[in-house]
Amino acid sequence: MTVDPRRPSRRGSRRRAGSSRAAAWGTAPFALYVALFLALPTAIAIGTGFVDGEGAPTLDNVAALADPYVLSGFSTSLWLSALTAVVGAVIGALVAYALIGTDPNGALRASIDSASGVLAQFGGVMLAFAFVATIGIQGLVTVLLRDLVGVDIFADGVWLYEAPGLVLPYVYFQVPLMIITFLPALEALKPQWAEATATLGGTARDFWWRVGIPVLAPSFLGSLLLLFANAFSSFATAAALTSQGQSIVPLQIRAALTSETVLGRENLAGALALGMIVVMAAVMGLYALLQRRASRWQR
C-alpha cells in the first residue's frame, strides 16, 4: 500500500469510510443536473395537469382525459403504435434472421447497422420529407402508379397528412429499431444449443421451433414493446407532416402548448402528458419484466 504524503495515515476502515463519503459528494453535480433537467420537468409536466390557470388545485384537466377529443387522440396513438410496432417487429426480425451467419465485422453488417441507427434515431423531420417525395400528391410512387398502372392512391382523398399517412413513415423507422434491438438477442443464441439439437437428430427447423423461437420469444416481445413505446412517443415526423392536425396525442400536446386553451382548459398539456406517462410506464414496466426473463438465456 502506498502512503499518501499529503494525508496522515489513519486506520484503514475510517479512511475508506471518509473517502467513500467524499466520493458520494462527487456525484452531487450529476445528481443536481438530473434533478433540475429530468426530475423537475417531469414533475412539472405531470403536476400542471392537476392545477388550473391560477395555480389552484383541480381535477378538471384530468377529467378532460375522458373527453371524446382526447380519447380519440389516445386511441389513434395506440392503434398507430401497435400496428407499426407489430409490422416493424416482424419485418425487423426477418432481417435480423437473414443476417445470421454474415460476418459481424463485415461491410454488410457495418452499413446495415449505421443505416438502421440513422433511420431509427435521426429520422424525424427527414422521414416526413421522404414520404412527401414518395407518396405525396406529386410523389415518385404516386406519379408512377398513376401514369403506368392507372391507380390513384388518393382516389378517396389525400390521406398522407392524416393518421393513416403516418403508418408508412412510422414503419420506416420501426424496422431499423427492431434490427438494432433484436439482433443482439439473436446473436446471443448459444452454438451449443444448435449442436445439441443436431446431435439428437434435429434439423434446423427443429432447432428454430423447439429451441430458437421459445428462447427468443421474451426478447421479441420486449423489442415489440420498445417499438410500441418509440412510436407512441414519436413527435417530429407527425409534426413535420401535419402542421395543423391533432390526430395523435403528441400533436394534441403541441396544440395545447401553443394555443393556450384547448377544450377551454389551460393546462390540458399537463393532463395529456400525464396520460402519456401512464401508458409509457405500463409499457416500460412490462418491458423490464420481459428483459429479466430474456436475460436468463443470455448468461
Binding site: L99, F131, A240, P250
Partner: protein
C-alpha cells in the same frame, strides 16, 4: 457451419429477404433524390439545385438555415461537453468507489427512454422560462435538455467500455506505482476509455443534429426546425439539406461502428 453455430438461412433466403427489404427501404431515399433533380414545369432533370446548395450560393433568404446549422453544431458540442463533464466523471466514480450506486445510476440514465420528449417539453417550458431570466435565451442553454435526451445513448456507450475494463486493478496499479489521481485520470483512465468516450460523443452529436421536438416547442432554431420552415418556401432545398444531414449521420454512425468493432477485436 457458420461462425455463430446457429443454423444460418440459406443464401437464397437471406438475399431474398435483404433484397426485398432493401429495395422497399431505398424507395423513399430514391424518391427524395429524384425530387431534388426535377426541373420545374417543363420536366426533365438537372443538378442545378445541388450545385446551388453545395457552392453555398443560396442568397440571403436562406441565411436562417445557415444560422440554424450553426446553432445545431454549437448545441452538439455543448451537449458533448455536458456528457463529458457531468456524466462521465460520475460513471467513473461510481464504478470505482460506489458500487452500490451502479443500479440506481443505470436506472436514472435509461429513464429518458420512458419519458417522451414531448412530455419533457411540457415541464421544460417553465424551467426554461426561469433560465431565460437568469442566463438569457441563448440557444446554447438547450444543451442541458439535450444532455438528458442523449443520456441513455451516452451511458450505454461508456458503460460497455467500463464493463470491458478492470478499472479497479488499473487504478490500483497506477496508484501503487506512485501516480497521483490527476495522472491516473489523464494517463490511465482516459486512454482506456477513449473508445467509449468517442462513441458517446458521436452518438450524442447524431442525436442532437436530429432533434426537433424540444427546439420546436421551446421556439429555438436548430437544423430540424429550420428545415421545416424552409420546406414551406422551397421544398427542394430543404430536401437536399435533409439528404446531406442523413448522409452525415450515416457516416458518423459508421465511424462509431468501427470504434466499437476495434474494441471487440482486441478482447477476444
Amino acid at each position: 457451419m457458420t461462425a455463430s453455430g446457429v443454423p444460418a438461412p440459406r443464401p437464397a433466403t437471406r438475399w431474398t429477404i435483404l433484397g426485398a427489404v432493401g429495395i422497399v427501404f431505398a424507395i423513399p431515399i430514391v424518391a427524395m433524390v429524384e425530387f431534388t433533380l426535377r426541373r420545374g414545369l417543363e420536366g426533365g432533370y438537372d443538378l442545378s439545385r445541388w450545385v446551388t446548395v453545395l457552392t453555398g450560393d443560396l442568397g440571403p433568404a436562406y441565411r436562417p438555415l445557415g444560422t440554424a446549422i450553426g446553432n445545431s453544431v454549437a448545441l452538439a458540442l455543448a451537449t458533448v461537453a455536458v456528457v463529458l463533464v457531468l456524466l462521465v466523471p460520475t460513471m467513473i466514480l461510481v464504478q470505482l468507489k460506489l458500487p452500490a450506486l451502479r443500479r440506481p445510476l443505470e436506472f436514472v440514465c435509461l429513464l429518458p427512454i420512458s419519458i417522451p420528449a414531448i412530455v419533457l417539453v411540457v415541464g421544460l417550458a417553465p424551467v426554461y422560462g426561469v433560465i431565460a431570466r437568469i442566463a438569457g435565451s441563448g440557444v446554447w442553454t438547450l444543451a442541458f435538455a439535450y444532455g438528458i435526451v442523449v443520456l441513455p445513448f451516452a451511458y450505454r456507450a461508456v458503460q460497455s467500455n467500463l464493463d470491458a475494463l478492470d478499472l479497479a486493478t488499473l487504478t490500483e496499479a497506477a496508484r501503487s506505482l506512485g501516480a497521483s489521481w490527476p495522472v491516473v485520470i489523464v494517463r490511465v483512465l482516459l486512454p482506456n476509455l477513449r473508445r467509449g468516450l468517442l462513441a458517446a460523443a458521436f452518438i450524442s452529436v447524431a442525436v442532437v443534429l436530429g432533434e426537433f421536438t424540444i427546439a420546436s416547442l421551446l421556439n429555438r432554431q436548430n437544423l430540424q426546425t429550420a428545415l421545416v420552415v424552409v420546406q414551406k418556401d422551397d421544398p427542394f432545398i430543404a430536401v437536399i439539406v435533409a439528404l446531406l444531414a442523413l448522409l452525415f449521420a450515416f457516416v458518423l454512425l459508421l465511424v462509431i461502428g468501427r470504434i466499437g468493432r476495434g474494441r471487440t477485436r482486441r478482447t477476444p
